[in-house]
């Protein structure tokens, strides 16, 4: 290629690259039609519209307190919710909303025993069902496991996706479990911890990958003429949307889960009630990702030995903490597997 053509190509690629980065926030995500079923403070319970509900047991999706639950419904053609609806499930989504400083008083007990508990009640009422399935992802899975240990009557199936249970092996422990780190130092200044701070800490676990390799790969693809605009922008918008972490919940999460590792040790108490994972009797599916550095496999699979469930399944798949559930690999891999497992256990 002559120098002029090469220079022109470089200019076109640079323009495209910058454009993709600058317009990422315009990406359309979470567009599957849904209705609001119930709201309380920042929390909203959504029900996705469907013309073909084939399974009697509704499914409630619960995501983490960091990042938004839009990842369940990232974009048309790459949406787990869309897949579930096509398979005939009655799908509900619990959205924790966007807490601010006035919500600094919300603790883990509030999320588990109020918001999640009430959302379950509203799900059953809306679906006219007596039992439901809960799918929790990341911290959402931990909250769902706590709930399942405390309020187990209506829960038939529990799915935990890349969920931290035993944090002893977690990379975060090396940072936040040490005596010199006091979570209250942060919450004294920020009553609700800015999502950007947490996002920064997450990215710092793999600094080069997150701050350099991601952009280099995008540049390589743009320069080679491979269009990743839609997929990249949808993911970038989701990654960049970081709600605040309510102060009390943040302190409890750090102190109880990392410093004391209280859930795995059976010492966690919410409103005086001991969260004993042995009380979980629901059918349990645990999904881990081989390259998950946020909730490593060994910190999740311990739950398999802790619960009393007679029906326990474990899927271990390649991929990262989020990448496991996104893209064509997920569409043809873990999604159908989850759907098959759930369908077999969702008859009336």
């Amino acid at each position: 290629m002559n120098p002029v053509a090469q220079l022109t190509r470089l200019g076109v690629a640079a323009n495209d690259f910058v454009n993709i980065l600058l317009t990422a926030d315009d990406a359309a995500i979470a567009v599957t039609p849904r209705d609001v079923v119930w709201t309380h403070r920042n929390t909203t319970l959504f029900r996705y519209r469907s013309q073909q509900r084939l399974h009697a047991v509704p499914l409630l999706l619960v995501f983490a307190l960091i990042n938004r639950p839009d990842i369940f419904d990232l974009q048309p053609g790459n949406s787990f919710v869309e897949h579930l609806l096509a398979e005939g499930f009655d799908v509900f989504l619990l959205d924790w909303g966007e807490p601010d400083d006035a919500d600094a008083d919300l603790g883990l007990d509030t999320f588990v025993l109020d918001e999640l508990h009430w959302a379950v009640r509203e799900t059953l009422r809306a679906a006219d069902a007596e039992e439901l399935s809960i799918l929790g992802w990341c911290i959402g899975g931990t909250l769902a496991a706590m709930y399942a240990a405390l309020e187990r009557d209506a829960l038939r199936n529990l799915i935990l996706l890349t969920t931290p249970i035993d944090t002893a092996s977690s990379r975060y422990s090396n940072w936040v479990a040490r005596d010199s780190f006091d979570a209250a130092t942060v919450t004294d200044v920020y009553p609700s911890v800015p999502g950007e701070l947490i996002d920064f800490a997450n990215k710092l676990l793999k600094p080069v990958t997150n701050y350099w390799t991601t952009y280099r790969r995008l540049w390589d693809d743009v320069y080679a003429g491979i269009d990743r605009r839609s997929a990249y922008q949808a993911m970038a918008r989701w990654v960049g949307d970081n709600p605040r972490f309510p102060g009390r919940a943040f302190r409890e999460w750090i102190d109880w889960m990392y410093k004391e590792n209280a859930l795995a040790r059976g010492r966690l108490r919410l409103r005086g009630r001991r969260v004993d994972l042995r009380r979980i009797e629901a059918n349990l599916l645990v999904v881990t990702a081989g390259a998950d550095h946020i909730a490593p496999r060994e910190g999740t699979v311990v739950v398999l030995d802790l619960v009393s469930s007679a029906d326990v399944t474990h899927f271990d798949r390649p991929g990262g903490h989020i990448g496991l559930m996104i893209g064509s690999n997920a569409r043809h891999g873990i999604w159908p597997d989850i759907v098959e497992w759930l369908a077999q256990r969702s008859a009336r």
Partner: protein, 125 residues
């Protein structure tokens, strides 16, 4: 995050990537290897005890400075007789408390309604 599902822009002149020269390939390979090695080294670094200790200290310092800045800003706003962040938060908390009570009241009403609907018929006088 790496996302699969690639497609090719039709409007680009083809081929966009001409066959690379051998020396170009080796430079690219060398760059990739250096980058991978650097990424692995930084991941090991951030997992060291010393880095964790440093991070804890830096966090304390940054929070200390931020607190001073926030306190000064709040003092200025309050002296101007304007509602500060704390005042707005107080109002927000009051609204949240009211909503909590309303939710509990609604639950009581729903429970009573269910009891009335499902309960045994009233005894004859």
């Amino acid at each position: 995050m790496d996302i699969s599902g690639k497609c090719v822009i039709a409007s680009y002149p083809q081929p966009m990537t001409p066959a690379a020269e051998p020396h170009e390939d080796s430079i690219r390979q060398l760059f990739k290897e250096s980058q991978d090695a650097f990424a692995a080294a930084t991941e090991r670094t951030v997992q060291r005890d010393a880095f964790g200790e440093l991070l804890a200290r830096v966090t304390e310092n940054v929070m200390g400075v931020t607190k001073i800045a926030f306190d000064v800003a709040d003092l200025i706003v309050r002296n101007l007789r304007l509602a500060g962040r704390a005042d707005i938060d107080r109002l927000g908390r009051q609204l949240a408390r009211t909503e909590d009570k309303l939710e509990l009241l609604l639950q009581e009403i729903e429970a009573l309604r269910a009891e009335t609907r499902d309960g045994p018929p009233a005894a004859a006088p």
